[in-house]
Symmetry: C2
Subunit: 316 residues, 2 copies
C-alpha cells in the first residue's frame, strides 16, 4: 500500500467526527489543536518480534494494544484524554487490508479512551513498528498525579485484577494449556492479553479521591510499585492476601511452575493502575487496598520482608 493512499484513507478510518478543537490535521504539515492549560504527553512504541508477534495477533488487535498501552500512561497521570499521533513502520508487502485493520484498531481503542487520532506518519521498514504519542490535558496541574508523592501512612491501591494478561500470553504461546479451566475462561485470559483497557476514568477517580502518587502496571505490580517507592523515597509494603489475582491465573501459573500471586506480581502488561491514597480517603469502586506506605529508605516489601524481583524470568 502506498503511503499516500494510506494517508488518504486515514480520515474515514480514524474519525467519525473530528472534534471542533482540532483545527488542522492530515493533509497539512502539522496538526493544530486548541490547547488547554497543561499538556500531558507520553510516547509508547511496540515492535513486532519484541512486544508482540504479528503472526499471532489480528492486525486490528495490534492497533488496539498499542493505543491502549500508550493511553495507559495518561490514565496514570489522571489527565483528560486529548489526541493521539501515530507513527507506523510497515514491512514491504503489507496488505492494504492489514494496514487498514491496524488503523481501525487504533481508532477504535482511541475512541474508547476518549482520544482523537489527530495526525501521524507512515514509513516502510523491515518490521512492523507502531509508535504512538498520546496527549492529555489538564486545566490545573495540581490535578495531575506523578509517581513521587507517596507518604508514610498512605494506602496502596490497585484497580481491577492482576495476572490475567500474563496468563493469557502463556496460553497463546502454548507455554500453558489452562487445564481445569473452561474454554470461556481460557479465552477471557487471552482476551485480557490481546486487548488491554486503559483505565482513563479510574485514574481520574483516584486523583479525585486524593491520589498522591500513581503509576500504570506495565511491568507488573512488583516492579511498578517499586518505582513508586523509589520516586517517593518510601517503603511500600504489600499484603499478599489482598492482591487481587484474576480468576484462572492460579491454574495457568501452576503449569508454569509458579503460584498465581507470583504471576500477578510479575507478569506485567496488566495496564491497571497502582496509586497511593491518604489513609482517610474513600477508595473508589473497583479499586482494592493492597498495602501501606511506610517511612523510607525506599524499598518494596511484602508482609514486612524485602520483595526480590529477580528469578521470575521463566514466567514471561
Amino acid at each position: 500500500m502506498r503511503e499516500l493512499e494510506l494517508i488518504a484513507a486515514l480520515p474515514e478510518l480514524l474519525t467519525s467526527a473530528t472534534p471542533p478543537r482540532i483545527l488542522r490535521w492530515i493533509g497539512d504539515d502539522a496538526s493544530v489543536v486548541r490547547a488547554r492549560g497543561y499538556q500531558v504527553t507520553s510516547v509508547d512504541t511496540m515492535v513486532d518480534g519484541v512486544h508482540f508477534r504479528a503472526g499471532a495477533l489480528e492486525w486490528s488487535t495490534i492497533g488496539e494494544r498499542a493505543l491502549a498501552a500508550a493511553a495507559s500512561d495518561l490514565a496514570a497521570m489522571a489527565a483528560e484524554p486529548g489526541e493521539a499521533y501515530v507513527a507506523l513502520v510497515l514491512p514491504a508487502g503489507t496488505e492494504p487490508e492489514a494496514a487498514r485493520a491496524l488503523l481501525s484498531g487504533i481508532g477504535a481503542a482511541a475512541g474508547r479512551c476518549g482520544l482523537t487520532v489527530a495526525g501521524g506518519d507512515v514509513s516502510s521498514g523491515p518490521a512492523l513498528v507502531v509508535s504512538i504519542t498520546v496527549v492529555g490535558w489538564a486545566d490545573d496541574p495540581g490535578g495531575l498525579v506523578g509517581r513521587d508523592g507517596a507518604r508514610p501512612g498512605d494506602a496502596v491501591v490497585v484497580t481491577g485484577s492482576l495476572g490475567a494478561p500474563a496468563a493469557g500470553l502463556a496460553l497463546l504461546d502454548g507455554r500453558a494449556r489452562g487445564a481445569g479451566l473452561s474454554e470461556a475462561e481460557r479465552e477471557q485470559l487471552c482476551q485480557r492479553y490481546r486487548v488491554p483497557t486503559a483505565r482513563m476514568a479510574e485514574g481520574r477517580a483516584l486523583a479525585t479521591a486524593g491520589a498522591r502518587a500513581m503509576i500504570d502496571l506495565s511491568d507488573g505490580l512488583a516492579a511498578d510499585a517499586r518505582h513508586l517507592a523509589r520516586a517517593g523515597g518510601v517503603v511500600i509494603d504489600l499484603d499478599r492476601d489482598r492482591i487481587p489475582v484474576a480468576p484462572g491465573v492460579a491454574q495457568v501459573a501452576a503449569e508454569l511452575g509458579a503460584d498465581g500471586l507470583t504471576l500477578a506480581l510479575t507478569g506485567g502488561e496488566d495496564f491497571e493502575l497502582c496509586a497511593c491514597l491518604p489513609a482517610a480517603a474513600t477508595v473508589p469502586a473497583g479499586a482494592t487496598v493492597v498495602g501501606r506506605v511506610a517511612a523510607g529508605p525506599a524499598a518494596l516489601r511484602m508482609g514486612g520482608r524485602e520483595l526480590a524481583l529477580a528469578g521470575y524470568e521463566h514466567l514471561l
Copy 2:
C-alpha cells in the same frame, strides 16, 4: 545498552537547562508542559535502510537529520518551537556510545531549533528507527500558515538554495564523483545532505510577511509546490530562470545525466520552505521569488507548461 540505563542518561544528554514551562518529564509516566493557546504537532520517522543508511552516517548525524526533518514541519506552519518527544528502536547490540551519540545529535539539533526534548521511549528491534514527535505553539491560530491559502496573483518564494542535499547524497553514494568541484565544494554538498537546517526563523518571517500558504521541501520543489497548488485549487507557475540552484549541483547533476535545475526541482530533502505571498508583500531576506500563482484548476506549471513529475527516479 539496557533501556533503563539509556533513559537514565537522557537528562544529561538532552538538556543543558530544562525550561520552566516543563513541569515533569523523564522519570514520570508522562511529561507535563505548560501550554499556550494552540498546539502544533507533527511526527516524522526515519528508518535505517529506507531513509538513511546507518553505516554511511555518524550516529550523531542520524539524530541531527531526524530532528531537523521533524522540526521542518513546524517551520512550515510558522509555529514557535516547543518540545520534541523521541521514540527510538535500537538494534540488539547497539553500542552505548552509538546510542549516546544519536541522542546527542538529537539534542544538539533540537537546541538549534529552539526545541526542548521533553520525553521519549526506547525499544529494541531489528533496525534503527528514529521517530520524533515535535510540538510547536501559537497564541493566535491566525498566525499559523497551512498549505491551502494560495490565491491568484500571489508570488511563490523559496528560502535558500535547492538541490544540494540530493547532489550530496549522490556523492556519498558514489553515484557521482563531482569532477570539477573542489574537495571543499564536494564536502559542502555532502554536509547539506547530512545535516539539514529546519528554517524555523524563516518560516515565522514569511508568516509575518503575509504568507498565505507554506510547505517545507522534503520531496523537492516540484512535488511540494504541487501540494500547494492542489490544496489551494490554483495554478502554480514556476519560472525556470529564477529557481535558486545551489552551487555545485549542476556539475553533479551532469554526472547523473540531468541538469542542475532538474535535480533542484526533484531531488528533495532540501528542508527549505516554499510559500505563497501576496504580490505586494516584502519578500524576506534570503528568500527568492520563483513563480506566480494563477487561477485554477489546480496544476503545476513551469513557463506556462504542465510540469511532469515522472521520469526522475534515476536521480534519487
